[in-house]
Symmetry: C2
Subunit: 409 residues, 2 copies
């Protein structure tokens, strides 16, 4: 460490896994802008702009649309700890690893967790969720939108109405879909939806966009407001009204993002600049064009992988457009293929978790990387490595099929 | 919003308040580097480098020295929620706003909070802390190192030994001192110390360096490890062993930063690049030179403010070197002076909280801004504004006094 490890100089990998992916160069440049004081009018102006920019991205008119300062997981925990008191019944729609994560976070909060599940590679039918809501009478229904562990996207139409009829709130984790698949928060009737920058928004991990319905904001407002300087006996009554975290207390964070500008933490300025630029790039492209580009990339990737002779994983009616899983052929070692792609081609593809570990690869085409040439380059490199490893692929079919699929409507 | 608010283009303010301050340009440039996958060997290599770089900055050999992904407050909450179970007695050394913040966070966790206090502008004598430890038999003693709300730096020598003798752990929040005043974590005998980038380290808010003693790591290890997929009945036994947060579970985050590389969140890559560069700049400058520079800047600022005819706040034996508070003269309106400094000179100085609100200004000289010309420019501008607002200052004295004080040893 005598030279303190040298200047930052990462290799220029092409990140074609389930995220994080390469940030858009404009986002990286935005993150090198000079800092501002947290109550500088220019800074609070940028905060207000971020609120306005993320509303169309979430598909909402929600006033409370802002950033949680942490990775996507911070947004999830902020939503759950602010909505759920110990002992509350929460119904988790669980169809992959990130549904399990919801139960894990909710367990820490002391929720009474009920689940309605689908096997990995499937989604949960709406009528099964409806029956589970009837059975469990939850305070909150919590679900993932797109779960990268299985590549499945849960249909959400009608779910908000079911929740509303049952007096439940609805939380949706859209980390893997925001910026790549259409979010319709108001049409879904979702109460809190959170995301992350590092996938289809083409940014860097460390900031979590969030949107909160008026109904959820009122619920949070009814939980006790805690002012600096209160003492232990005012917290320990055990009625569960006080939100169990200061950092993730969305009531306090709303006060910070409101005209009140009550001091909470120091806003992560550089990440806010990045989040703002992610949103600008997306709105300049246009929502419809953005989603069509991700669809084309997903279609091309799937067609190319199929043309290589690989079998795709999961229910094709519900596949996310931004990430595709394919079974690893028996003839090759999955990790050797990944290593050769990384070392020889500087391309990263994804491994898998839990029941799929060692069985599938995951191929992402997200955000700035949901582009034709990146899909084609990935498929061409994969074909070369597979052939070198002894798996016979039809020469040139993958790229040709992907090209045809890109342009198909 | 028809043009989506335009490119990021913040005014180039000189941030001479108590933080956040201007980031070093090298840090801003490092944050525009290309991203990497979170388990890429180049990425995990950078993570290991960060661990090595922050050990000398903390003054520790602690293996567990890494980053929490969030602002400085995230580091505080991660430390407290990972160390403290509901019902644990925690003694808070409280001499300002950030001591109150510790009690606020601990209250959410369900700790039984005891305090030992000093009036704002003073520190807590070691014998008072010793007596409070005897009286309260805490599981944890928690203190701020430098509290920017009062500009006081709490002496910490001997405190670790007192805690150890009493079987207590010691937590220190060094957000406002890391990078500017010497941290001697091992010599103090502190068990967890956390910081932030946005003050004397000259970085951007959003990453919290942390160091954890083996003793504290063992304590955290004894708390129940929770694996993904466990269900509610395994959480709800109420023995307080499970850490109440997933995102801030330092046991899981240690597993992520260890050779195990167990997946937790996606590391905030850009912030890690920035944190790494902050540390490199500091170690290249040299610790002694770094602290001497902050001392000179604090000395110069204090001398200059005094020469303007302002009265400094707080016990001068315990003033932080990086932030100085001065009483607002009766002849002027504090907010008008701040506004004119910002609008006419693009210089930001700090307001104050709680009992000091409206009574003092706070002047920081932190990190990249702890430089002679920035102190002189600030004093010169302040002199001009004060005179324009009707407060008679001796012409030129402030800059001359600051110059002389800068070079004094």
């Amino acid at each position: 460490m005598h030279d303190f490890f040298g200047e930052i100089d990462p290799p220029q990998r092409l990140l074609m896994g389930p995220g994080p992916v390469n940030a858009h160069p404009r986002v990286l440049r935005a993150m090198s802008a000079d800092l501002l004081g947290q109550f500088d009018p220019e800074m609070t102006g940028y905060m207000n702009e971020v609120m306005a920019l993320y509303r169309p991205i979430f598909g909402t008119d929600n006033r409370w649309t802002f950033l949680v300062n942490g990775t996507a997981r911070a947004g999830i925990e902020a939503a759950l700890v602010s909505l759920v008191s110990p002992g509350d019944v929460v119904l988790v729609v669980n169809f992959g690893r990130f549904g399990l994560l919801l139960t894990e976070i909710l367990g820490r909060i002391g929720a009474r967790i009920e689940t309605v599940e689908a096997p990995w590679g499937e989604v949960v039918p709406l009528d099964a969720i409806a029956a589970a809501i009837q059975r469990t009478a939850p305070r909150l229904v919590a679900t993932i939108h797109g779960d990268t562990s299985t590549t499945m996207a849960q249909p959400l139409g009608g779910l908000g109405a079911l929740c509303r009829d049952a007096g439940a709130l609805l939380y949706v984790d859209a980390t893997a879909t925001i910026g790549g698949m259409e979010l319709s928060v108001d049409a879904w009737g979702a109460d809190i939806v959170t995301g992350g920058l590092q996938k289809c928004l083409g940014g860097s991990s460390g900031s979590a966009p969030i949107t909160i319905s008026d109904r959820a904001a009122e619920h949070i407002g009814r939980r006790r407001h805690v002012e600096l300087g209160l003492r232990t006996d005012e917290f320990s009554d055990g009625d569960g009204l006080v939100i169990g975290s200061n950092y993730f207390d969305l009531g306090m964070i709303m006060d910070y993002w409101s005209e009140k500008r009550l001091n909470h933490h120091t806003e992560a300025t550089t990440m806010l600049y990045g989040a703002r630029e992610c949103a600008r790039i997306m709105l300049q492209e246009g929502l419809a064009a953005r989603y069509a580009r991700h669809s084309a990339a997903g279609r091309a990737m799937a067609a190319g992988l199929g043309a290589l002779g690989l079998t795709l994983f999961g229910d094709e009616r519900h596949r996310m457009t931004s990430v595709t899983a394919a079974f690893i052929p028996d003839e090759v070692d999955g990790e050797t293929v990944r290593r050769r792609l990384r070392e020889d081609f500087e391309i990263e593809i994804g491994t898998a978790f839990g029941p799929l570990a060692g069985k599938v690869w995951r191929f992402g085409a997200m955000g700035y990387n949901a582009r034709k040439h990146k899909v084609l380059i990935t498929l061409g490199a994969l074909e070369a490595v597979l052939r070198a490893e002894g798996f016979a692929c039809p020469p040139g079919e993958a790229v040709a099929s992907a090209l045809a699929a890109w342009d198909a409507v």
